[in-house]
């Protein structure tokens, strides 16, 4: 044994080691897990962590994307490209299919579809019999997330019961579930937005182009920057400006990517990862505060959605 004082791991090394450990626990404990992959920065970090956890073997789980049909084409292309490069199986299930089946009913045609992903996710879990979904949620994102377990139990309706969570001690995770029940596993629970960007920088990860500063037509709506006239793969163009709104061409980037109708960009000239790390260090607005139009409806809206099966 050495006698000198040991050098502790750097914070990124520690977070990486913890996340790899969690991914391997999922693989060791669950019989049919799946990794939720959107093409966003958090799930791209998890793909990198999965490479470190399981290569030279294949991932012991497929990738699953719940597509609202309102995603940026750049992100969808990137998603497909990344899955192909890794040689891993990508399953895509669409909220629009749930709408056709009648299991998702929108209040109005332009209602954001983000929260309806829960329905499609639960349908996919049933279709494939997944017993665990690995997601990229972080505890620093939101106060309902701050209390979420790393291995979070969901009942057969996909519900999260915040008052009755399984105690989680040391690094002894309990991912056991009965048939029909489900575990949500969050390997980067303890990461902050800054950690994610530092990791992307250190590992030199590629990202969809909309994370970097670019020119875009937007309008200002309720204090938020709303991207307009966004083309979809289907040829449809969504987010039309409303009457009287002034269209401005602005240099922006997205801090988070998600459904077009509820994700706002921020003004930025950060066109590479290094500049984004710097910008993240000096920003005065939280990630969700700046960018999520759907979390602000009520103080508890994330908590509410999670109880309904959202990841």
């Amino acid at each position: 044994m050495t006698t000198q004082t040991k050098q502790p791991l750097s914070h990124l090394d520690w977070l990486e080691a913890e996340a790899i450990h969690i991914l391997r626990e999922v693989a060791g404990q669950c019989s049919n897990p799946v990794l939720l992959f959107s093409g966003g920065k958090d799930s791209l970090c998890i793909l990198r962590l999965a490479e470190k956890a399981f290569r030279p073997g294949r991932f012991p789980f497929p990738l699953l994307h719940i597509d609202t049909g309102h995603n940026y084409q750049e992100v969808i292309d990137f998603r497909d490209q990344r899955a192909a490069e890794l040689g891993e199986r990508l399953i895509v299930r669409s909220v629009e299919d749930s709408m056709k089946r009648g299991t998702v009913v929108l209040k109005s045609p332009d209602e954001p579809r983000n929260k309806h992903q829960s329905v499609t996710l639960l349908e996919s879990i049933e279709e494939f019999g997944f017993d665990c979904c690995i997601g990229g949620a972080r505890r620093d994102e939101e106060k309902a997330r701050a209390k979420e377990r790393i291995m979070s139990f969901r009942d057969e309706f996909g519900q999260w019961d915040p008052k009755n969570q399984r105690p989680e001690l040391w690094n002894l995770y309990n991912a056991r579930s009965h048939k029909g029940e489900n575990i949500r596993a969050f390997p980067i629970s303890n990461w902050t937005e800054m950690d994610v960007w530092q990791y992307i920088e250190r590992e030199n990860l590629q990202l969809p182009s909309i994370y970097f500063a670019h020119q875009r037509d937007v309008v200002m709506r309720g204090g938020a920057i709303v991207p307009i006239n966004v083309p979809l793969a289907s040829g449809e163009v969504i987010n039309q400006p409303k009457a009287g709104e002034e269209v401005i061409n602005m240099q922006v980037r997205f801090r988070t990517v998600g459904d077009i109708t509820c994700t706002a960009p921020v003004i930025s000239d950060a066109d590479n990862v290094e500049k984004i790390v710097l910008e993240t260090a000096t920003t005065t607005i939280t990630e969700r505060g700046a960018t999520r139009l759907d979390d602000q409806t009520s103080d508890a809206s994330m908590e509410q959605r999670k109880k309904e099966g959202y990841f």
Partner: protein
């Protein structure tokens, strides 16, 4: 605003910055939420939109100043009842160090939450209200921190502003605490205990010194946190490597990988180098380390907390749940364990039932042997016990169906800890620390 200037994070990323996990013990009345709020606020972790939101809420509740405790406001159910019901995790970074705070509710009925928070912490801040001094709950928190093996304790005498920053009041509380710490063996057990007077409300001695307590010459709270040792950095531990997953990429086109058998896991303690003689337990077969991989990287040595893949010279039958140790640091697998157990479930422990014990990556069925005593967490008295209800802590023995490779918890937190699972619900119902 505080004078704290966060180190440029880009600069910090290039430093070998470390990570400290700590917990706070106390109730809302002790100013725990205010302390956490103050740490987040004064280290400039709180961003403008969050601040605007709590300013609004503070005004709505009729308060004049911003109530920093609102920063740790949690779930809807908690806001409705005005209580905290679960451990919350918070994050901040100074540029030289990243912190994970486990914020545990302090009331007696939440012993299980405190044990949960303590299980991953290397330092505990125990809050004492300067007007009230050492209370029953202080004893409880200290006992639990001791039980769960937190090596560093900071006794924070808060609300000094309400006793006119009186040094004599502070000194008395410190003396009282030390007397009690000696009585329960906290000091004997090698815990490092530090004291600090502060006012979380006014921000004195948290990040900034303030000018109200010039008589106190010691470090501020943040200074203490910045230099506190992180887990595993303080002592030599034997190498313990529970196997999580075995990687055998059969379908690979690469002929070099045909014979690849990687044992994947996290180094729970100690370190290992290429060439080391190792033994796989419980079977006891020996081999040598051929290679250590971390992603695409080959390492010559791996140490505590690194998640790696080990390749061995010989083909040894090894699977998840086995433990790889150094051949000169081996241990005897056991089928009976004696432990301090904290019961976490609303369903009491039943001595008639069979439970599952999960220890490292291994599971075994277990039957309760004897319950020697339970501990009154307030008086620390040992009481006779038949069964165990939620929040009870007792000394129990278990008989195991499968052998486990254990160390005493006081020697090794990773290989001394286990959880108890109820097979019918799959719930985690107990937390055990092997004696």
């Amino acid at each position: 605003m505080s004078n704290f200037v966060p180190l440029n994070d880009v600069q910090a990323a290039q430093h070998n910055d470390s990570l400290l996990r700590f917990m706070t013990c106390g109730s809302v009345d002790d100013g725990k939420s205010t302390l956490i709020g103050r740490l987040l606020f004064d280290t400039k972790t709180i961003l403008a939109d969050t601040l605007t939101q709590i300013e609004k809420t503070s005004r709505k509740r009729g308060m004049e100043a911003v109530d920093l405790s609102l920063l740790t406001d949690g779930l809807q159910a908690e806001r409705e009842q005005g209580i905290t019901i679960d451990v919350a995790y918070r994050y901040f970074s100074t540029g030289t160090r990243k912190y994970i705070i486990a914020d545990a509710p302090g009331h007696e009925q939440y012993t299980r939450n405190m044990v949960t928070a303590a299980s991953t912490a290397n330092l505990a801040i125990i809050l004492i209200d300067a007007r009230k001094g050492v209370l029953t709950q202080t004893r409880r928190h200290s006992f639990l921190a001791h039980l769960v093996g937190i090596p560093h304790i900071v006794v924070a005498v808060n609300k000094m502003d309400l006793v006119n920053y009186d040094q004599a009041a502070y000194d008395k509380i410190c003396a009282d605490y030390l007397a009690f710490a000696t009585e329960i063996g906290l000091q004997r057990a090698g815990h490092d205990i530090q004291f600090i007077p502060m006012s979380a409300l006014n921000g004195d001695m948290i990040v900034d010194r303030g000018d109200a307590m010039d008589w106190y010459q010691g470090p501020t709270m943040l200074d203490m946190l910045e230099v506190a040792p992180t887990a595993h950095s303080e002592r030599d531990e034997p190498f313990r490597f529970p196997v999580q997953f075995v990687c055998r990429p059969h379908a690979s086109d690469d002929p070099e990988l045909h014979d690849f058998r990687g044992f994947m896991g996290r180094v729970e303690s100690g370190d290992v180098s290429v060439g080391d003689a190792v033994t796989v337990l419980p079977a006891g077969h020996s081999s040598k380390v051929k290679a250590i991989l971390l992603g695409e990287q080959s390492l010559s040595t791996a140490s505590t907390e690194q998640s790696i893949t080990l390749l061995l010279e010989d083909e040894i039958d090894t699977s998840r749940g086995d433990m790889i140790v150094k051949s000169d640091q081996t241990l005897e697998p056991v089928k009976q364990i004696e432990a301090m157990v904290c019961w976490l479930s609303e369903t009491p422990l039943s001595a008639a039932r069979t439970y599952i014990i999960r220890h490292t990556t291994r599971e075994s069925k277990a039957k309760v042997g004897t319950i020697s005593y339970k501990v009154d967490v307030n008086t620390l008295e040992q009481l006779p016990a038949q069964g165990l209800a939620m929040n009870d802590i007792a000394r129990i023995s278990f008989r195991l169906a499968q052998p486990l490779m254990v160390d005493a918890y006081s020697v090794n937190r990773a290989t001394g800890a286990f959880i108890v699972i109820d097979e019918s619900t799959n719930n985690t119902v107990g937390a055990g620390m092997i004696i």
